[in-house]
């Protein structure tokens, strides 16, 4: 292992810098909001620089190293259970880390003049910083206990963001979000421990556990049960049908910033957990579970789409579209092939960029119109033409238009279902494939319908001459342009990410192929 500053401290610095910023803010009085905004932005930018250094350095290693875990730090933490502070990154986590590093500063820029009611920028921004640490930590943790801690740390700030700064039904949404996730993670913890004992009670390291599971002869029934516990934890977070019901409430009630972070990063913790933990450690059980995961994924696709068609609230509609899109990601995962898994990771990032953008736009519309009821909106292209076009662009990206990022998440996932991993029923997945393909048609339907009703036509009478309806303002441009640019960039050059993920995913797929035989 090389010993450079980056290798020894890079990841830890990146993960804990936001916490330092939050601690600093805690010491300063909340009266002067500007200084808090500056500290928060400064911290996230600094975190982004450290993380960016890490990401570019990783990129420069060359594709033959992208499948390895790099910059690993392994320090003792809780000796009594052999849980260690183990962090490292590879080609699977790098795209998600980069996404997190990008989205959070943009959210803070957006907050500059969009602090939701009831104000208190200090507390709001501190929560975002704590959230930042939790998310980054989950993506770098290579130890199950450490992962669990970071995975849970994310809950608290989000709960308060929804509960304090959310919409009218915020209390209900906040507690629902919390309890659903907690239920999943409690069972997940039990299954982590069951796995720990099944492998002899020596380590929580993910890589070592994967090797131990392979070399020891744990009964397949036990493995399937342990996978089931993890499935509850990650599946609720994704969210998969039928555990998705917290999502529309949380999204609709959360403040714009909360919705963006929730859509862009938090949901990915679930899918990332599937790939990094559940499948990597228990490939045999994964093959057994694949048909069920696939089934729930396609139900999610169709159900989410039908749900969208029935919505009258724009934010709720986008939330349901998340259920559908995460369905594609899960379908990609369920195929257990390198093709499908690559598509899934791409889909995660693409969904993060696009849906994050959609929530930004929805938030800005809400701020101007004070409503998101679709039938009261209309004529956005006349009242605020630039925002209308941005909405149109995001809608196109979301429905999977080739040339934009969304396409590379959905299309390969559907394609991968044609030929799932060995040991998984081919005919079943071909049915899933057809259903998923129908889902894209529905997606085009509800998204275009949304665009039609909100952007086209003439503004309704009540908003015709409303001076509050202005076009995109400066902070919005700053927050949005990077996302829009990346949606185009990844649309045209998907190889940027596929190359990165292909190495580790192929290794994973090989293990799955061996397990499927």
């Amino acid at each position: 292992m090389e010993h450079t500053f980056l290798a020894d401290y890079g990841i830890s610095l990146m993960v804990f810098l936001p916490l330092v910023g939050a601690a600093l803010m805690m010491l300063i009085s909340g009266k002067n909001e500007e200084i808090h905004k500056q500290i928060a932005l400064g911290t996230t930018v600094l975190t982004g620089l450290v993380g960016g250094w890490l990401v570019t350095d990783f990129y420069r290693l060359g594709s033959e190293h992208w499948g390895e875990l790099r910059y690993g730090v392994d320090k003792s933490w809780i000796d009594i259970v052999n849980a260690r502070y183990t962090v490292a990154v590879d080609g699977i986590s790098i795209p998600l880390i980069a996404l997190t590093l990008l989205v959070v500063p943009l959210v803070i820029v957006y907050s500059w003049n969009h602090i939701p009611n009831p104000g208190n920028a200090k507390a709001f921004l501190m929560l975002i910083l704590v959230l930042h640490t939790g998310m980054l930590g989950s993506f770098v943790a290579q130890d199950l206990v450490l992962f669990f801690v970071f995975f849970e740390v994310v809950l608290l700030p989000m709960y308060f963001m929804i509960g304090v700064w959310g919409g009218e039904q915020r209390l209900y949404a906040a507690i629902k979000f919390f309890l659903f996730t907690l239920f999943g993670s409690a069972l997940m913890l039990v299954s982590f421990l069951a796995l720990y004992w099944a492998t002899g009670g020596t380590t929580f390291n993910m890589v070592e556990l994967a090797a131990l599971v392979q070399s020891s002869d744990i009964k397949i029934g036990t493995q399937v049960l342990i996978f089931g516990g993890m499935f509850m934890g990650f599946g609720i977070k994704v969210p998969m049908f039928p555990f998705h019901t917290w999502l529309p409430d949380a999204h609709t009630q959360a403040p714009t910033q909360g919705s963006v972070i929730l859509a862009a990063v938090l949901l990915k913790l679930g899918t990332y957990g599937f790939i990094r933990i559940a499948i990597q450690i228990l490939p045999e059980a994964a093959i057994k579970w694949a048909p069920w995961i696939g089934l729930l994924a396609v139900i999610g696709i169709i159900y989410g789409a039908l749900g969208c068609l029935a919505q009258t609230d724009m934010k709720r509609l986008i939330a349901f579209s998340s259920v559908a899109h995460m369905g594609y990601v899960m379908l990609g995962i369920a195929t257990m092939t390198d093709f499908g898994l690559n598509a899934a990771i791409f889909g995660m990032v693409a969904h993060g960029l696009i849906t994050g953008m959609l929530f930004f736009v929805a938030g800005s519309i809400k701020e101007r119109y004070h409503t998101l009821e679709i039938k009261r909106l209309g004529g956005l292209l006349i009242s605020a033409p630039r925002m209308g076009w941005i909405l149109g662009f995001c809608v196109m990206a979301s429905l999977g238009l080739p040339g934009l990022a969304g396409f590379w998440g959905e299309f390969p996932a559907i394609l991968a279902a044609y030929q799932p991993q060995e040991g998984i029923s081919e005919s079943l997945f071909r049915v899933y494939m057809v259903v998923a393909a129908i889902g894209t048609v529905l997606a085009a339907g509800y998204l275009l319908w949304l665009l039609q009703r909100t952007a086209f036509g003439n503004p309704s009478e009540e908003f015709e001459d409303d001076p509050a309806i202005t076009d995109v303002v400066f902070t919005e441009w700053v927050a949005w342009i990077p996302l829009l640019a990346l949606i185009v960039l990844f649309g045209f050059v998907p190889g940027l990410m596929f190359d990165l993920t292909d190495g580790p995913v192929t290794a994973l797929a090989n293990a799955l192929a061996a397990a499927g035989k």
């Binding site: 003792s76 933490w77 809780i78 000796d79 009594i80 259970v81 507390a123 206990v145 669990f148 801690v149 970071f150 849970e152 740390v153 809950l155 608290l156 709960y159 308060f160 509960g163 304090v164 915020r170 209390l171 906040a174 507690i175 919390f178 309890l179 907690l182 239920f183 409690a186 069972l187 913890l189 039990v190 421990l193 069951a194 720990y196 004992w197 099944a198 009670g201 036990t222």
Partner: protein, 506 residues
């Protein structure tokens, strides 16, 4: 058997009495507490009113002084375990950790009581003397490996608590609290004594190790079972296990709040210590009887406690029922002690240590808040984030810790319980672990409902004046916050002490 016992007695009677060898170092903490109790009485008699305001200081310093021999004994590692009085009293690492816990809990309870007692026109000196006596009982309990010393310790820690529960003597609820607690406690003692008498009857000895031998060699299963069940039920009252929990909510609500904290943390922990001592040392071979009993008791206790807690509107009552549920979590490891017995004490002690910090902290916040709002209704916490953000943050940490959410301490406590339960993949353990997991979600709901009040709701009466925190309560809050946070972020700090505890057999 009887003849044997009679002949032993005859032998003892014939020999001239000689004082048993006493290891003064090993009993130094107990002696300091004893001296404290005597000192308070004397000083109070001599100094009367003038000295009363110094009592809390004296008591708290004495508790800290008693910690010194605990530390020296701990670091004197080579000589542990120290066995006294023919093995009836054992000082090992397990008992030392618990002694430290009880002394520190006593210290924090004194901090919590200081302002409450001095401002409320109560009898200060007597109160602190009773606290000292009760803590002495607990400290004795940790080392007791004999039915008689266990019973004496139990009564020594309980009787002062009966008195203190009724301390607000002009308040009807406080009278109810004391009376109910005493009647139930005495009833439990009766049951416990009956169980103990049966144990003595079948083994001819009060020493736990002798009882273990007698039970494993004897053949009278129904009698053993009866004895074991009665003994465990006797302790069940103390730890407020369902269905023996009915005294807890009324007593908690009526008793002075600092005393409630004392009951919820120290007294409950002492009950568990007694349970661990007896089950691990005296019933090691009786897992077929004890395990199912404990499994059912734990599952029922946590579930019922949580469901009733959901409906509470009074903060203290809610914490009482939450304490019932937590008792269910704590006793769960005893359902697998037959196979994983080595780890059971560690897991339970870890939970008790973290539970003490977070629960005492929560009570400290309630005490501070009540100074302003004069109420313990959950709704009176509304809008606290607006006028007391620091206090709100502290309470939030305690509540999340009670709910078991990282990175605050409670998660590690639960983790240790889960770890014992899942080891060896026994059905009884896994099922209990899943029940516990589901229960922690139910519990999260009512813990969160308090954070909801504090963060999301408006102030009920619009009074936004800031809260003043007296110095004693500040110290208590800082201490509990530090322990709660540190034990969650670096669980190694707790596990280094409590991670691998075994009960030394004399």
């Amino acid at each position: 058997m009887l003849a044997l016992a009679a002949s032993t007695i005859a032998q003892i009677a014939l020999e001239p009495f000689s004082r048993p060898e006493i290891d003064w170092h090993a009993v130094a903490p107990e002696l300091i507490l004893l001296a404290l109790g005597a000192l308070i009485t004397v000083i109070d008699l001599v100094g009367l009113e003038k000295v009363r305001k110094w009592m809390p200081t004296l008591t708290s310093f004495a508790f800290l002084a008693a910690l010194i021999p605990v530390l020296t004994l701990w670091n004197d590692g080579g000589e542990l375990p120290r066995s006294l009085f023919d093995g009836a009293y054992v000082v090992d690492r397990y008992s030392l950790v618990l002694k430290g816990l009880f002394l520190l809990t006593g210290y924090v309870v004194v901090l919590l009581s200081t302002n409450y007692m001095s401002e409320g026109d109560y009898y200060d000196s007597e109160y602190y003397q009773l606290i000292a006596a009760s803590i002495l009982g607990m400290v004795v309990m940790t080392s007791s490996r004999d039915l008689i010393s266990i019973f004496v310790a139990l009564e020594l820690l309980s009787i002062p608590a009966y008195l203190m529960a009724a301390w607000r003597k002009r308040d009807l609820k406080s009278n109810e609290a004391g009376l109910k607690y005493m009647l139930m406690g005495v009833f439990a003692s009766g049951i416990l004594l009956y169980g103990m008498s049966l144990l003595y009857g079948v083994s001819g000895s009060t020493k736990l190790t002798d009882i273990a031998t007698a039970l494993s060699t004897g053949s009278s299963k129904p009698l053993f079972t009866l004895a074991i069940v009665f003994t465990i039920i006797g302790f069940g009252f103390k730890v407020s296990a369902v269905p023996f929990h009915t005294w807890a909510p009324d007593t908690y609500e009526g008793a002075p709040t600092p005393l409630t904290a004392f009951l919820a943390v120290a007294s409950k922990a002492a009950g568990f210590v007694a349970m661990i001592n007896v089950i691990i040392v005296a019933f090691p071979g009786q897992a077929d009887v004890v395990e199912p009993l404990m499994a059912v008791l734990a599952a029922v206790t946590m579930t019922v406690g949580n469901f009733i807690a959901l409906r509470q509107t009074n903060m203290v009552r809610m914490l009482a029922y939450s304490g019932v549920a937590q008792a269910g979590y704590i006793m769960a490891p005893l359902a697998v002690y037959g196979t994983n017995g080595d780890r059971v004490p560690s897991a339970m002690v870890t939970y008790l240590v973290i539970y003490a910090a977070m629960n005492l902290g929560a009570f400290a916040v309630i005490l501070v808040a009540a100074r302003k709002t004069r109420s313990a209704e959950i709704s009176s916490f509304g809008g606290m984030f607006g006028y007391a953000p620091g206090l709100t943050l502290a309470m939030t940490l305690f509540l999340f810790s009670l709910a078991g959410i990282p990175p605050v301490g409670g998660w590690w406590a639960k983790f240790e319980i889960f770890r014992v339960l899942t080891e060896g993949h026994r059905a009884i353990g896994i099922v209990l672990a899943v029940i516990l997991a589901v229960n922690s979600v139910i519990a999260a709901f009512y813990y969160l409902s308090i954070t909801k009040q504090m963060w999301f709701m408006p102030t009920p009466d619009g009074d936004e004046s800031p809260v003043t925190i007296p110095p004693a309560l500040q110290v208590a809050l800082v201490l509990t916050v530090i322990v709660t946070l540190a034990s969650g972020i670096l669980p190694g700090l707790v596990s280094d002490m409590a991670g691998n505890l075994q009960l030394a057999l004399p």
